[in-house]
């Protein structure tokens, strides 16, 4: 199942809309609540990062979200034309909570909630893909999630 692209202004309020749509798509596919929850939280963190870092709070800009679900995986893809991300996905780790850092959690949270996080730029468009596997895959003990 693939949803129509969702285009929202890059504001904290408007990025709630794709999460609601994501839930509807996943419920329609009868996916379990814990998987839906993990995807919702991952999407929320990603979109918040885009509002903050790609667009720096510029509410005139938009983010496009594509959702696709099949028998094996949930794919969440975002496209934006903001500042390219300068992140090393491999090195994004959760800050030590005892340091009481107020930021730097987003990407690490996303990585812990989904199975794959991919980022690339194409013709000035930043493309993020989050993939959640829905069935047992090689090397994974759990039916879903990480």
């Amino acid at each position: 199942m693939r949803s129509e692209p969702i285009i929202v202004p890059a504001t904290y309020k408007d990025i709630r809309i794709p999460a609601e749509r994501l839930r509807a798509v996943m419920l329609a596919d009868l996916l379990p609540e814990d998987v839906i929850l993990e995807c919702e939280l991952a999407l929320q963190e990603l979109l918040t990062n885009l509002v903050d870092h790609a667009y720096g709070g510029d509410a005139v800009r938009t983010i496009t979200i594509n959702l696709a679900c099949d028998a094996t995986r949930m794919l969440i893809e975002t496209r934006d034309t903001g500042k390219p991300a300068s992140v090393d996905l491999e090195k994004a780790v959760m800050p030590d909570p005892t340091d009481l850092a107020e930021g730097g959690y987003g990407l690490a949270i996303i990585k812990s909630l989904v199975d794959e996080v991919n980022y690339k730029t194409e013709n000035g468009i930043n493309i993020w893909q989050l993939i959640k596997y829905l069935n047992r895959t090689p090397g994974k003990e759990e039916t879903h999630g990480s």
């Binding site: 814990d34 929320q44 009481l100």
Partner: protein, 114 residues
């Protein structure tokens, strides 16, 4: 020898803030402002009742961490009443802040607080 009596009185300002609904990047600034005001008014101890928070993201968490950090600078502390919804407790667990914040039961807020 007469009994020596020494006393030490303290007035501690405690505020309990009860949240209901989504506590995300959209809502975080208003709570941060409210907490800024309490800190400016010498409140040092905060209880956040998260029982009815339906969803918490890292932006909401950042507000709680900020208040914890600043209250500790004033010899204060922050306690949390744990959220019932998984969508709210998950971020606290993932970031391991469940090991940093002291949690209390909702029933403990009034009689004990700290």
């Amino acid at each position: 020898m007469a009994l020596e009596i020494s006393t030490n009185e303290q007035i501690v300002r405690i505020v309990t803030i009860t949240l209901r609904g989504r506590f995300d990047a959209f809502e975080a600034p208003s709570l941060r402002k409210k907490c800024d005001d309490y800190l400016a008014n010498e409140f040092t101890h905060f209880v956040f009742d998260l029982t009815d928070v339906s969803m918490l993201d890292s932006a909401g968490l950042a507000v709680l961490v900020s208040v914890l950090k600043r209250s500790r600078l004033k010899n204060g502390d922050v306690r949390l009443v744990w959220p019932e919804a998984d969508a709210a407790s998950r971020i606290l667990k993932l970031t391991k802040f469940d090991q940093v914040f002291t949690s209390i039961e909702r029933s403990e807020i009034i009689p004990r607080g700290f």
